[in-house]
Amino acid sequence: MRLQLALLSLRRHRSRTLLAALGVAVSGAMLLDMVMLATGMRESFASLLGRNRFTIRVSPRGTLPFDSEATITNAADAATAIARVSTVTTVAPVLGATLHVLDAGEPVTAFALGVDPRVQGDYELLGGRHPTDPNELVASDALLARLSARLGDTLDVAVGFDPQLGTFAGRRRLLIVGRARFLFLSAGDRAAALQLSTVQAMGGVGRRDRVSLFMVRTAPGADVEAAQAAIERAVPRVTALSIAGAVAEAENRLSYFRQLAFILGAVSLIVGFLLVTTMMTVSVNERIGEIAVMRAIGVSRLHVVHQIVLEGVAISLAGAAVGLVLGIGTARYLNSILRSFPGLPDAIDFFLFQPDSALRAIGLLVMSGIAAGIYPAWRAASLPVAATLREEAVG
């Protein structure tokens, strides 16, 4: 009955109701986008880091993985020491280098990763097989396309370019045995993965027995923080970083987006609230006489309040439903813009749709709709009935 009366009242001013719902929809879309932005990057980054179940990254002390050119010396000893930590199950070494492919007329540069193919967690094979021989490599599609090369081709590659002498520290002919998607690089990045020993040997003295980082797996259910501390105790020249630590560091660097999301989300909520409040206030002012009549014939104050609040909730719900669709559309567009950040890993999303985030946004919007209706409803229901009826009849 109350809902029916509320809907009838809204239908009486269709264009006004439609416009208010549209306003709430735009605010709701913005709110949803901002909730998605606030949580999306953290979730997608954590999910990327957690892929392949590597829980700890070990980099040269005081640095973040691949944030500088620093390397871990005496890598073999460090790997053994890390593997001795009781909860550690796998240690995957990684050494980064710039690879020069000399077959093409103009040398083509690519990012090379020296890995242990049996335990690596940096790439996923799209075709072919892992580089099981020291003279083999797997390449990203972008590198293969740039070189017009395919599986089975041999490349003349070099590492350790000295620009002043125009020489390389090491040069080899390597066979392309696989196509790979590099998890921590963008789709357009030219990259290749080789055996760790190959990159170390080609890099010359400066790369001998060195790695850029270790990726470490711990036993399921093991205390990651304790393992992290144990690694740092076992190898004092390294910094061990858990997924939570890496996510916190990334969040710190990109805190701008989280704070922007918070501010714009709050503004959207306030705009939606103001819109429904204004709409309900005007609507109630117009119907003061009608409300006084309802009260005079015995309709309870609570009934009047319920009916007006229901109108606000109905507008908010209708707006939220449209806003949900609108929000997902705009989030995709905004995500496509932010994903064009240079060097951003392909798997990172800034806007991530999560049902609980959507529910949270809709819940906030409906709550603001309820709050927006309460004051005008209570004011209308509290008017002196006789005086209002007399004023309305005369006026």
């Binding site: 001013h13 913005m30 010396t73 005007v282 117009e286 932010l338």
Partner: protein, 260 residues
């Protein structure tokens, strides 16, 4: 002129490092190129420098130290090498021809004009700019809807006044003009309030992010152009919304406006 090898070398550190570690001018520190290295160079701090307002460094929390070139070359074992040279050309010189001549004459390195490097390094900020523009467009759409809704409600509130005016013989055009005038006034007042709010917000944003990222960089700048664009835009939106609402009102028969 580098000092003699026996003299203790001096370095400059940035104010962030000085504040975090509690270092002061005259303090002596040990520099090493490897984390946890057993040996290093003992140097004294000769200066504490302010960081530049460089957007490319803003999200990085690195510490910076500045030292003499020969000192760094020796410490890192880099030999007689540098990462790059920065060249200053005469005011009337053609940068492109200088770059061409350097590239033709030199062996083992390549020259780039500063503007080419600026384009390459500013890609991140171009993405941020595109994102801000997209957010701006969404905000404009939201404001337009909000404004239209408010104008419609404002005009609806005056249904009886307008009906009375029409019944007294006031023309439709006069009614439309009066509503438009009111809309323009509301939009102008709103714009002025918005500009004031924008200035306060920009101050708050700058203060907050300068302290978060510890940089002198200005994150939000309110320019005359920005103010002009926002005032004109909100006036246009306000007048447009008012015109739509006024047209609707003027077309409704006066008795219908009275609810009869």
């Amino acid at each position: 002129m580098p000092p003699s090898a026996s003299a203790e070398r001096t370095i400059a550190i940035d104010e962030r490092l000085a504040a975090d570690v509690g270092l002061r001018i005259g303090d002596r520190v040990v520099l090493a190129t490897e984390p946890g290295a057993q040996r290093g160079d003992t140097v004294s701090i000769a200066a504490i420098v302010k960081r530049r307002a460089d957007p490319s460094e803003v999200a990085r929390s690195d510490y910076r130290i500045r030292m003499h070139l020969d000192h760094l070359q020796r410490l890192t074992g880099y030999g007689d090498r540098v990462d790059r040279f920065s060249l200053q050309t005469a005011p009337d010189a053609s940068v492109d021809s200088v770059v061409t001549r350097v590239n033709a004459a030199a062996f083992g390195f390549r020259a780039y004009p500063s503007r080419a490097i600026a384009v390459e390094t500013s890609k991140t900020f171009l993405v941020v700019r595109r994102f801000h523009r997209a957010i701006g467009i969404i905000t404009i759409v939201a404001s337009a809807t909000f404004l239209l809704c408010i104008m419609l409600l404002k005009v609806d509130e005056r249904r009886r006044d307008v009906a009375a005016m029409r019944l007294m013989g006031v023309s439709r055009a006069t009614v439309v003009r009066s509503v438009l005038l009111e809309a323009s006034f509301v939009a102008l007042l709103g714009s002025l309030f918005g500009v004031a709010l924008g200035l306060v917000t920009a101050w708050f944003v700058n203060t907050h992010y300068q302290s978060v990222y510890r940089t002198p960089l200005r994150f939000a700048i309110v320019t005359t152009e920005t103010v002009a664009i926002s005032v004109v835009l909100s006036l246009l939106l306000g007048i447009g919304a008012g015109a739509l609402a006024a047209r609707r009102l003027a077309r409704t028969p006066p008795l219908a406006l009275f609810g009869r």
